[in-house]
Amino acid sequence: MGKSVLLADDDQLLASLLNFRLKKGGYVVHHSANGKEVKEYLKNKMPDIIVSDIMMPYCSGIELIDYVRNELKSKTPIIIISSAGNEQNVLTAFELGANDFITKPVSPTELLVRIAREISK
């Protein structure tokens, strides 16, 4: 059984595409469209890696990192997807404990490589 990935993104089209690619890459993917769903999921199960967009309804990617690191005390790798030029958010994400980031437009292949690298760490 492949490694589990939690994909948190409110953009349905992109999420569907990444989901498809990750599944094709051998990962077990769970998709959540907003921060609230992500938190609910994380209470029950901790995936091997979290891939999250920064801008999400109810709970942003930054809040999600803070939740995972400080409340759940988990060291699960987190990869952030951010828009280009959103440098401050990326820096904040790293300060809070994000492991890596990737900017939009996303290359699904590149994301796959980054996920594999983070999991292997």
């Binding site: 349905q12 699904p108 590149e110």
Partner: protein
């Protein structure tokens, strides 16, 4: 029974309106409202269902697109079969316009979010499915927004084949289409920028230039053309954009063209050319830079100076020093100094607000005198320059007066020792009038006798007084002691003479002038008062002119009361524009003051008049006439006449009040009655009967003469009632006026004979205010008691 639609409500004078129409209009409005709300509901539902349908379609297309995007040749046979099936399926789907639009939308969305190999596959899929043909159709639309979206779609999906179709839009009259086409042309093919720069006829906005540059920057493996080729374009925006591109891509092969553009009429192009020259270090441009400087705008001048600072050598110092002397704009002058220091560090040293070393030395008497003279000269020269506009213009004012330079004329060097206040005054004067000053002429004016001192103002403020005190420290210690002793004596004697009732308002310049001009020889009486009792004081106070002025100021001397006679006797020419009565005389370095005080009687009369002015009213008219008769002083008579005029205007004469022309004589019911209908008229007459007075008599008489029987009857009753009421009221009032002395005001309102008063009551043309008040109080009394 009157039908409801025929009942007239005429309390207000609105035009009659058919109620039937009103009903129809109500129904129409209601129907329109229903249509509007139903329309909004339908449209909203349609949009919602459309969105929902689109969303569902997107979900349906999404896995198909994923399959297409991530299809690999290494896939299994089943996957390949699945891929082929999907391809057939999607081709069927896009036959439907809606599906095709949704699929295009999905691909355009994904294009923004994907990069790398997936993006290439996506674009290929778009073309493979033939969706770009839809975009071509959009280009032919009459709607500019459709055309624009078609161009955007083709640009986003990088349909190179559309280049030929899009180039014709770069000169489209619709700016949105034009701008979209410009980006498309530059984006789609490498030669697009050349075509665009060659052919565009319209303005290229700053924002558009940035967008185009951004497109070029992100083009992979882009080799820019030589943008210097477009510096000769007739479109100035193309020239400007080319200059920016030249600067961005560091193309320094168009040196001569760029230098030539320094002479361009457009300031933006000039500024951009200067930037290029600076960046590429075109030293050959220095000559042209200096050439165009004289006729350039302020911004360009500063840019040129900046460029000279970057490129220039010590050969440019003479040019800059010349500018330093001639340039008047503060910013440019500062830039010139900055440039001078940049080329030759520390060439110009700070001198602003910096005193000369000898300023801190013990000042000897001789030095003091010289310095004072120089100060006087300088001040007077500057003010002379301010007054006389036709002074020749050999030397610039700023070069002779401002202290922030090292190249200063001898006269100005003396001024460096001046305190800050003097400097500020000089600068202010210069800024007000930037005319040049003839130094030679200034040097000729050396003594006080040669100077026209008529410009000396008459007033001085408190700040200047403080400055005087500060300046006193310049005098040597012996003098200071003597002066202090004398001052104390003067103060003791002047305590007996109090001028505190007079305001003291003194202008800064007078004190400054006196302060800077005193010396040993100058310690002569400055002014003398006419009053003999002040002669002793004068002798004491005139020892020190400075103390003299300051003590008099402190005592509140009103210079405006000083007389000019004494000055005329001394034959002093004081030419102030606004002072018809010169108060100060200057002769043989002496300054004299002359003052005449009012006689006591006149003063008393004036005080009385001022009190009347403040507290009095028309009752003081008799007294005012009396004052005029008793006094011969013109001032008093004039003032009294002013007050008479004032009070006469304030109080309406009783005769006027009781005249027929007065508005009080007219009934307030008249207008309403004339506009009212029958029922209202009846009601109004009833009201008149209750509250009316003699003003309504006219109206009632008129009603009796013109109206129908019922109204006449009512009006007659009301008239009889009012008349009976008025008779009672006047009787009471007469008795009251006789008994009570309070009402005996002594003016024209007199009711000595009852017969006369009755006649006034029956007077059809008017009434009195008194009658009106009586009738009002009467009606109120009756209302209160039922």
């Amino acid at each position: 029974m009157i039908p409801p639609n025929q009942i007239k409500i005429s309390l207000i004078t609105a035009p009659e309106f058919n109620l039937e129409y009103l009903w129809w209009l109500t129904i129409l409005f209601f129907v329109l409202s229903v249509i509007y709300f139903v329309g909004v509901f339908i449209i909203r539902n349609k949009i919602t269902s459309n969105n929902s349908r689109t969303k569902n379609k997107k979900v349906e297309f999404s896995p198909m697109i994923n399959e297409f995007l991530f299809y690999e040749d290494s896939n299994t046979k089943e996957e390949k079969m699945n891929y082929l099936n999907l391809k057939v399926q999607i081709r069927e789907l896009i036959k439907n316009n809606f599906d095709r639009d949704v699929l295009t939308e999905v691909l355009l969305d994904l294009r923004k979010d994907l990069s790398g190999q997936s993006q290439t596959v996506l674009i290929d899929l778009y073309k493979d499915l033939g969706l770009h043909h839809n975009a071509y159709e959009k280009l032919g639309s009459r709607k500019w927004q459709v055309v624009s979206s078609g161009i955007l779609e083709l640009t986003t999906m990088e349909v190179d084949e559309s280049y030929g179709l899009l180039i014709k839009f770069i000169n489209h009259k619709q700016s949105t289409i034009r701008k979209q086409a410009e980006i498309a042309v530059v984006n789609l093919k490498e030669e697009g920028i050349k075509y665009f720069l060659d052919n565009t006829k319209f303005k290229i906005a700053e924002w558009q230039q940035l967008k185009l540059l951004d497109v070029l920057r992100h083009k992979p493996n882009y080799s820019p053309p030589q943008f210097g080729l477009w510096l000769t374009s007739t479109n100035i925006h193309v020239v400007l954009f080319s200059l920016r591109l030249i600067k961005y891509y560091s193309q320094n092969d168009a040196e001569q063209s760029i230098i030539t553009l320094l002479k361009h009429k457009n300031r933006d192009i000039q500024a951009e050319a200067i930037e290029c020259i600076k960046d590429f270090h075109f030293v050959n441009a220095l000559k042209t830079l200096k050439l165009v400087y004289s006729k350039a705008s302020h911004d360009i001048k500063i840019a040129i100076l900046d460029a000279i600072g970057e490129l220039g050598t010590k050969a440019e110092i003479s040019f800059l020093e010349n500018l330093h002397l001639t340039e008047r704009n503060f910013n440019i002058k500062s830039k010139v100094i900055g440039t001078l220091n940049k080329i030759d560090p520390e060439r110009v040293l700070p001198t602003k607000n910096i005193s000369k070393p000898d300023f801190y030395d013990v000042i000897c008497d001789d030095a003091l005198q010289e310095e004072d003279l120089s100060i006087i000269d300088n001040h007077e020269d500057i003010i002379l320059e301010d007054k006389n506009a036709d002074v020749s213009t050999e030397v610039d004012v700023e070069t002779t007066t401002t202290e922030d330079i090292t190249v200063i004329s001898p006269t100005v060097e003396e001024n460096v020792a001046l305190n800050d206040i003097e400097e500020a005054t000089v600068e202010e004067l210069i800024q007000k009038d930037e005319t040049a000053l003839d130094v030679d002429e200034i040097k000729k004016v050396k003594s006080l006798e040669d100077i026209d001192l008529s410009f000396l103002p008459h007033i001085k403020d408190e700040e200047a007084l403080e400055e005087i005190k500060e300046n006193e420290t310049v005098v040597d210690s012996e003098q200071v002691q003597e002066l202090e002793e004398e001052e104390q004596e003067v103060l003791k004697e002047e305590e007996e003479l109090t001028f505190s009732f007079l305001p003291y308002v003194v202008e800064e310049d007078v004190i400054q002038q006196v302060t800077t001009s005193y010396k040993d020889d100058d310690f002569q009486p400055l002014f003398e008062l006419d009053d003999e009792s002040m002669e002793d004081t004068q002798e004491q106070s005139s020892i020190n002119p400075l103390n003299n002025i300051s003590t008099n100021i402190n005592n509140g001397l009103d210079w405006s009361t000083l007389n000019s006679e004494k000055i005329e006797q001394n034959k002093v020419d004081i030419n102030t524009a606004d002072s018809a009565e010169p108060l100060i005389s200057f002769e043989n370095d002496n300054i004299s003051f002359t003052a005449n005080f009012m006689p006591q009687e006149e003063l008393d009369a004036m005080v009385l008049l001022e009190n009347i002015s403040e507290l009095g009213d028309c009752r003081e008219l008799i007294l005012l006439y009396q004052i005029i008769e008793e006094n011969s002083s013109e001032v008093v008579i004039e003032r009294a006449n002013e007050l008479i005029q004032k009070f006469s205007y304030q109080s309406p004469r009783p005769n006027e009040l009781f005249s027929d022309d007065n508005d009080l004589a007219e009934s307030v019911f008249t207008d309403i009655y004339n506009l009212a209908d029958y029922e209202t008229k009846l009601m109004l007459i009833g009201e008149i009967k209750k509250v009316g007075d003699e003003k309504e008599i006219d109206l009632l008489n008129n009603v009796i003469q013109t109206e129908s029987k019922t109204l006449v009857k009512k009006a007659t009753e009301a008239l009889a009632h009012i008349k009976s009421q008025l008779a009672v009221v006047t009787d009471h009032s007469i008795i009251a006026s006789d008994e009570d002395s309070i009402f005996n005001v002594g003016f024209e309102l007199e009711f000595n004979r009852p017969t006369e008063h009755k006649r006034s009551v029956s007077n059809e043309n008017g009434s009195t205010l008194f009658d009106q008040l009586c009738s009002m109080s009467n009606s109120l009394y009756r209302k209160k008691n039922g």
